[in-house]
Every structure is written in C-alpha cells, then in structure tokens.
Subunit: 171 residues, 2 copies
C-alpha cells in the first residue's frame, strides 16, 4: 500500500477539482506524455493569456479591456498542461452572446508547441458540450483562413446559405 | 398664435422623449410622408417584433427565449413609424458581445413596406454611433447573401483576411 505519490503528473478526481475547479475535464493525449485539463473556473493570469493569444499570431490588446471582456463572456475555457504546482495555460476559448438565441465563440487558440495532439478538437468538443448544457442549439464563429478545414471536419457549416462575415472598424 | 396642433405627425423634442424614451432620434425620409423614430428605450411588444422579423423571411423563434435573449443584449434598437398614439415597429437591430472587445449585430430588419426609404442605412448608422459612444472600435455581423452590397457600401469589410463565418447546429 502506497501512502505517497511520487508521480507528479497523476491527477485524481479530488485533485482535479481542487486545482482546476468544479467541472474540470482531464485529457491524456495519446501522442504526448503530458496530461491536459479543460477548466471553466480556474482563474486566468491575463498576461499569460495574452501571451498565449500572441503566440498564435494575434495582436496585442489592452489588458484592462481584456479583463472586462472576459468578465462579460458567457463561457471561458482554459486548457492547462497539468502540473500540481505550476499548471501552464496552453489553450483557450471563450463565448459571448445572449445565452439563448445567439452565441459566438472567440479567441480559440492552442499554443504552437502543443498543437498536433488533438487539443484543439478536444477544446471545441468541450465548449460545445457546455453550450448544449445551456440548451443552446446554434453557435457561430469567424474562422481564420488557415483553420477552415479544422472547423469543417468537426461539423461546422461554412457560410450557410451564402452568408458572409462582415467586420466594421471605427475610423 | 396657435394653441392647438392638429398635425398628429408633428413631433417636438419633448414628445419624442416622452413617447420613445431618452436618446431617441427622429428621421424624416425624403421619399415618404412618415416620420420615423429610432429608440433604444421604448419597450417592444415581442409578438410585434417577431412578426417584423418574420416579414423579412426569418423563422419563428420561441417567444420566451427571445425575451431572455433581448434581456441579455448589449443594445436593442427599434425603428418606429411615428404616431402619437400607436407607434408601429417597422425596423429592428440588436447587439450582443462583451462590450469591450467583441460586439456582434443581429436581427437587422426593416419591414418590406418601409424598405427603400433609407431606413436600413440610417438604422446601421444609429447602431454604430451608439457603439462608438461605448468606445467600441470593431463590430461584426453575419450578412445574408442578399445584403452583402448593402453592408459593403457602408464601409463594412467582407471576409477580412479570408475569414469565413461558421455555424454549428446542435444535432
């Protein structure tokens, strides 16, 4: 019988909840030795979050506005590379919307170092499962040119009925 | 000197506020005898609203979810054909989002009978002016195939950097 556990990557249900909050979901990729955790409740270090989003090529955003935007999001999901002391944020997605008719997914990112392990697909599956729990029957997003196939392969319909995305920029 | 006013369509600033709420905006189309008012605060009759949205060809939606979706919207704008006793809802638009980084415009509609008087353009100008007041520098929407030119002519950029809109439907 073992009373100590020297395997720092092991993560039982109790630890999962205490480190990552209620409803966290553990994912062990077949191709990678790490354990990853999807969590809606573990708070974000905003600097770490913005560094993650910049690592996939997006522009800097004012941290104060990011904070308020997160506060006003319906759902925020972090993907953490598990470590009992220093979990690292390696993925992210959030949703805005009215929570009943229209929900839009933004800021979907997996750190380049952790791409190719199925984390992006798993992240989207997790987000959509949470939306289903909220009885949401439709979600939308604006897909970058490079990830059209990624979304298509997961059942997203590109430009239904010839719809196009339109962006307006002040000044 | 006249003490009474027999012109029921006249609408001074005081009446505008008392009928349509603070910040209402009066619009007199050159091509139509009616006066129209854009208002963010006059409450909607949800049946009238859904009839308007169906008049432009959209599907029915459960009224209870519509109510909650409106409650959770950042901005709701009604276009009213002015009548001192029975203003009629002839146009609508609303926004969802986090109010700081991402705002999306939904349900933009002008009743077919009142199309062609510039109301749609005026409605979008009004919505964007309100977003500017909220210091929002970017807005997004999903444009139906038939109104791509309408948005383009007003400075909206279609599919910036090859982005495409993607829709997900539960089951």
């Amino acid at each position: 019988m073992s009373f100590s556990n020297s395997d720092t990557t092991s993560l039982d249900a109790e630890n999962l909840d205490s480190i990552y909050g209620k409803g966290a979901y553990k994912y062990k990729s077949l191709n990678d030795k790490n354990t990853f955790v999807f969590s809606q409740s573990k708070p974000f270090d905003l600097i770490e979050l913005e560094q993650l989003l910049q690592s996939v090529g997006w522009s800097r955003r004012p941290i104060r506005r990011v904070k308020k935007a997160l506060d006003n999001s319906l759902l925020k999901v972090g993907v953490w590379r598990h470590d009992p002391k220093f979990p690292r944020l390696v993925g992210f997605a959030r949703c805005t919307g009215d929570g009943f008719l229209e929900v839009t997914i933004w800021d979907v990112a997996i750190h380049p170092v952790y791409q190719g392990f199925g984390l992006g697909k798993q992240l989207m599956t997790y987000v959509l499962s949470q939306l289903k729990k909220m009885k949401i029957s439709k979600a939308t997003l604006f897909a970058d040119a490079g990830v059209l196939e990624f979304y298509k392969s997961q059942g997203w319909v590109l430009e239904p009925k010839g719809k196009k995305c339109a962006f307006w920029y002040a000044n």
